[in-house]
Amino acid sequence: MALLDRFPALAGVDLDVAAGEIVGIAGPNGAGKTTLLRACAGLVPLRAERAEVLGFDLLADRRAVRRHVGLLGHRAPLYGDLRVCDQLRHCARLLDADASEVSSAAERFGLGGRLESVAIRRLSEGQQRRVALACLTIARPRLWLLDEPHAGLDSTSRAALDELLAGAAAAGATVMLATHETGRAAVATSRQVTLVGGRVAVVAGAHDETDSSDVA
């Protein structure tokens, strides 16, 4: 059970996710998709028998896992007054990443050239989303938690994102993405989990792997 301001938001989710897997989380509004992602990121207090992500016990210390997780919520966590290059450099410093990661991440999401020196608040929503995704790329997380990651992206950026996620999964990272675009999610995901009322209602797709992430 996850608690939001003392109110239960997840009413018991039993889910094992294997390393290298891409799992789509679907469900109606208010089903608990975002809360599930935030719980996996160690941002939400939990009451459960067992809640383990990447081997970290979330019940014992939910802060320890954060450094290994990349979370992109509905809104892009960016500073509107910074320029694109400032924001990317800040992300690199924050995550102790190599400076060379900045240019490759910017290039991957088409943020090089003129866009580099544009203030983030002047960018379109889709462009801001691309900056946030570039920041995640710099982080190279072991677990990617993405909430509607394709929203606002053009077809080129969507393809780049799919390629990025497939590459991350192939390298052994785990990806969980919440989406309403089930058609889009079916392309990228190996398994589709549907949440209803804070519980797992349907799990579609074959999965026989042992778990590396377990959120209960």
């Binding site: 941002l43 979370l71 966590p77």
Partner: protein
């Protein structure tokens, strides 16, 4: 810890450098307050000079409330506070970096205010050392206090009104001791200026201790 604090300090000042809110909005507003006070007291030089010390700290308080509010507004928008949490930064380091950045901005406001007092109110300074030490210590204390309360009210719907309501009573010792020290430095009082400055230092240490202890719960629950 210090690396994390430096990251936040640098980031906040970079945002301020790009946005220029302190220089283009807060400083002119504070100077406008000095002008309005001069009108309110009918440009009575002796009256304005006598109240200059208090006016400095009221102006700083006003600027500090605006600065602290903005310092956490930029974290609240877009979920940046979550990004900081995900970065695994020490909560105390985040508050330390933000307080240091706010102190730099308050120092700019304070310098402009002193210049305003010298030019508009024709005040004279008897003891520059006392003035500077009291200003630095009081500004640091107020920055720490404002940062704590900024963190406490971040994300609340009523943060705009709640922040000054909570902050001003707690910052009252800074206002009181700072005003007394300034009165001595400006030659308006024969009080023990350094004693009041020592009190400012005690208040600063107290705020830092409270901030250190409260940083974790404050940033986790914000």
């Amino acid at each position: 810890m210090w690396r994390d604090a430096w990251l936040i300090f640098r980031k906040d000042l970079m945002i301020e450098r790009r946005a220029r809110i302190t220089l283009t909005q807060i400083v002119p507003t504070v100077l406008l307050i000095l002008v309005v006070f001069a009108f309110a007291f009918d440009a009575n030089a002796s009256l304005l000079g006598a109240g200059a010390g208090g006016l400095y700290w009221v102006a700083l308080l006003f600027g500090g409330v605006l600065g602290a509010k903005r310092s956490f507004d930029i974290e609240a928008e877009g979920g940046n506070l979550d990004a900081l949490r995900m970065g695994g930064l020490e909560p105390a380091a985040v508050l330390c970096g933000k307080a240091a950045a706010l102190a730099v901005q308050l120092a700019v406001i304070g310098t402009a205010t002193v210049a305003g007092l010298l030019i508009l109110y024709s005040v004279t300074v008897d003891d520059w050392l006392l003035l500077v030490v009291a200003a630095v210590t009081g500004t640091a204390a107020f920055a720490v206090c404002a940062t704590l309360y900024g963190a406490m009210t971040v994300g609340l719907r009523s943060a705009d009104t709640l922040l000054p309501l909570l902050l001003i009573p707690v910052a009252a010792p800074v206002l009181l001791a700072g005003t007394r020290a300034f009165d001595v430095a400006l030659g308006n009082s024969a009080d023990q200026g350094w004693s009041w400055t020592a009190l400012l230092a005690v208040v600063l240490v107290t705020y830092i201790a409270v901030g250190w202890a409260a940083a974790g719960p404050l940033l986790e629950d914000a």
